[in-house]
Amino acid sequence: MSSKETIGSVMIVGGGIGGIQSALDLANSGYYVYMVEKSPSIGGKMAQLDKTFPTNDCSMCIMSPKLVELGRHINIELLTLSEITEVNGEPGNFEVTVFEKARYVDMEKCIACGACTEKCPKKVEDVYNEKLVKRKAIYALYPQAVPLKYSIDPANCIKLTKDKCGNCEKECPADAILFDDTDKTHDLNVGSIILAPGFKAHDPSGNPYYAYDNNPDVVTSLEFERLLSASGPNQGHLIRPSDHKEPDKVAWFQCVGSRDINNCNNSHCSAVCCMYAIKQAIIAKEHDPSLECTIFYMDMRTHGKGFENCYNEAKDKYGIKFVRCRVHSVFSEGEKGTVIDYFDEAKGVVVRDNYDIIVLSVGIEIDAETRDLTKKLEIELTDGNFVKTDTFNPVSTSRKGIYVCGALQGPKDIPQTVIEAGAAALVSGSALSSTRNTLTKKMLIPEEIDIRGDRPRIGVFVCHCGINISSVIDVAAVRDFAKDLPFVEYVEDNLYSCSQDTQELISTQIREKGLNRIVVAACTPRTHDPLFQETLVEASLNKYLFEMVNIRNHGSWVHKDFPAEATQKSKDLVRMAVAKVAQLEPLKEEVLEIHQDALVIGGGISGITSAKALSEQGYKVTLLEKSENLGGNANLIHKTANGQDVALHLDQMKDSVYEDNNIEILTGAELKNVDGFVGNFTSTIDTNGNKKSIQHGVTIIATGALEYKPNEYLYGEDDRILTGLELDQKFKENAPFLAESKVAVFIQCVGSRNNERPFCSRICCSHSVLSALSLKEKNPGMKIFVLYRDIRTYGEKENLYKEAREKGIVFIRYGINDKPVVKKEKDILSVVVTDHVLQRKLNIQTDLITLASAIAPNNNDKLGKFFKIPVNDEGFFAEAHVKLAPSDFATDGVFLCGLAHYPKPIDESIAQAQAAASSATRLLSRKTINTIGTTAKVNSSYCSSCGSCIEICPYNAPDFITEGNFEGLSEINPLLCKGCGACAASCRSGAIYLRGFEEFQIMEMIENV
């Protein structure tokens, strides 16, 4: 019995990509969020990255929309330069003390013009750029930072340390410098806490072998990332740090600070370094195709979706060299640069070579500060200092009410972090579901004035941006020029158009002067459109009657030496905008009710988890399973990587859904047809011959995958040759022959990483190692051989691999061109394999052969067509974005989890099932959705039924009308249209127009250049 009331808010510690995702999920599903970030801006490690693997998307580009959304969210309170000092209370009602360091800059006033930084005389090492360059003592963390507010580094500021200087205060046009700012403490009440503080990259300094301390050309991978980045110290121009020469040869050393208990105490695999090294090598190659790139590694661990393909491309297309060797040491040799010795396995000799740059692929570890925090919160850690979680509750810490996601839970990449962030949001919110929407704020929207048919009355507001614009551009001249343009009724120049008082001015003028269209000439619409549109809405004007002119980023900032021409350019741009805005019409956003029921397809462990997660929040769920039993592949698994019994937990999970009145379970069921779209799906389900139709607002795809049945290694010809899951079955039955076997052989990559199935099945290495250990437990004298290509026991599963070797299990590597051969002569089974150390063939007589068989996708084509969701080349469903939306589809209202996405172990499947449920909750809890107003529309009288728009649209928005007067003509569903305009530009008949960017509107701009 809880004595205190439950609080409808969640605190998130850490503003990296994990924290950001959790915060947005929670704030968008009815909870108030406090985000506590220790640095001056959010973004974390991802903000430092140049590109992200395996697609080489620009990291900042994909991340910044999330940063902006978070920064503007009315239900997220951002506490920067802050840390948790104390947590009291109980789950549902924690009292948290937060310590906030002084920023010395007034966040309300700072306009991020950068004038202070320019005049600051004190240079400090730039942490964001990994100390490769200097920044100033007053600074913004990085150009796209959120909040984009400057802060003073008190340890280095001359004013704060010596009471001299004070330049920034003199320069600041907004009067934002607060030298007398003080540290503060906040006492906050929250219902749940999510820990997402991220990791620290291993610091190789102090280690004499890598010469990192004294050789500037030995860099860490994060430093190299900054060297590659267009926003880095050399604008992406790759140079050798010691002499700024372009490098000819670059080497990567893998496992620096990972899988290493000699130089440091990190026995875990960091799970991301192999992929990021490949990514960096590819990007470096793209910078300079003649560059020679070599990656020195122990095992290539490319176990994620699309990773193996990227690895193959690196070898075949980019010619990147991969050498299997842990390089012992680095030394400098006079003029020759940086020299290394390594062992060439193929030739069996030690080779000496020199490189221009050596990149140390540093691993993930948890820093002392974070460890202290977990200690203070009384949270249990693993031996590797990661938070201890169990397979079936992958984001719950040992303390109830406190959850974890991201690298603190275990080393992982961005998609897995995003998945866990969704899971943490779901479980932390679910615990507070009775308080949903109790603390969140809502914007009140006044009724809109109908201006259709009225003569345009345009207001033009020109911004000085302090002196950012007016120091180059003659703002008064631009304002006066605008006055004489057609339909302009009111002009004004403002010191800051974005400030609160200007918003009030715009609002007043709209009312008093009857303005019905607004132009603001200031900075960029990419960040400021929403702000001004909000002002329009508050003044009862349709938000689409607005146009921004960018005279700062595209004007004063880039034409410093051409004031007259820049002023002329600004006038031209204002004229173009006025011409366009006069032609704009109010646009309507369709409001769509969201049906509150959910359909979960697939009754395996993922489907069960999703269904239960949604039901716990009060939503009704239909759980559809094609076989007669729930549980899927989990029915066949013996135990998890951390030794938990699967059957025991699975039975509990099954019982919980069977007993749940909110969940209707349909077994022996098949989906026959799907109509509709987000919020309003109608699905026809055939249950053993009985058809029925159900309505649902969201769909979760959890259709799983299958164990591949091998057609090699004599599989099926002898009872002693089993697949990985068949061996698990024997364990479950406690089959006596297991303990009686004297020799057992595991063959890895059966059906994976080949031409037919080029991907890595991710779980087989850990599974085989685990099974091998279980066999050893049954019969310690058993000789066990694992024949592998690369051992991929990523993350903390590396400890299993270590344990296996310690227990005498023999690991023999084989090559794809020299696969093991299984023989059966009389009744004797044997495996012939070439030993990589001895360089000779071994003949192993064995009693048991386990084939670590691939995970093969189901045939997903039909389901793909029903929901208009794509399937990738490998047969798995293709998510909306490999990094930041791993559980969503480009089709709204449909979500993805489990093996249908990609092979993964149970803990990751459960996390993704919870993440998919979190995405679904985000949508369901809104009850209605607004579409965008700038959608395309067909003018039926011009349409010639050619079907080009239907062919072109990536979102399936256009379709032929099937009945009535307009039968056969095209029509665009505004709920599906995303407003790209590809159809409008491609329509042969000029029948399609894109609202807000109509052809005559753009032509009007061209006319007025």
Binding site: C58, C61, T524, H554, W557, V558, A566, V1009
Partner: protein
């Protein structure tokens, strides 16, 4: 004609190249003030008609920039754009328009330097060509 200052109509997609231009600003990378930017949701929104209209209405050059192939915010809009632009460029060149009048590029929102560099190149190219006259309907010179 050393004082000739061309006007170049620049179509930028909202998600990548417009962002690059913003970043060039934030980073203060300088380029001459000859661009007149029209922001569009996607390079796929731009129809050949708009290119023709620009040249007809007195722009001396047209520059279109979108996301890198594969990076399109709308999945594949820039591929459609690329196909269309290749055709219209060939057609215009066939009709006697100098190749340098019409320029395309793919710039991501992290490539501020590239934006400024390409801007300079395009301006230089068009300045060299002098005023566009080919498609302009004008009164007889008196």
């Amino acid at each position: 004609m050393s004082s000739f200052e061309p006007k170049i109509i620049t179509f930028l997609c909202n998600w990548c190249s417009y962002g690059a231009a913003d970043l060039a600003g934030v980073s203060r990378f300088q380029y001459p003030p000859n661009m007149r930017v029209i922001r569009v949701p996607c390079s796929g929104r731009i129809s050949p008609k708009m290119i023709l209209a620009s040249l007809r209405k007195g722009a001396d050059g047209v520059w279109i920039s979108g996301c890198h192939p594969g990076d399109c915010h709308y999945i594949e809009g820039n591929y459609y754009a690329r196909r269309k632009f290749t055709l219209i460029k060939q057609l215009l060149e066939f009709n006697g328009i100098e190749p340098g009048r019409l320029n395309f590029s793919w710039i991501s929102s992290a490539e501020g330097v590239k934006f400024a560099d390409v801007a300079k190149e395009v301006i230089e190219e068009v300045t060299k060509l002098g005023p566009a006259k080919y498609l302009i309907k004008s009164c007889a010179e008196v």
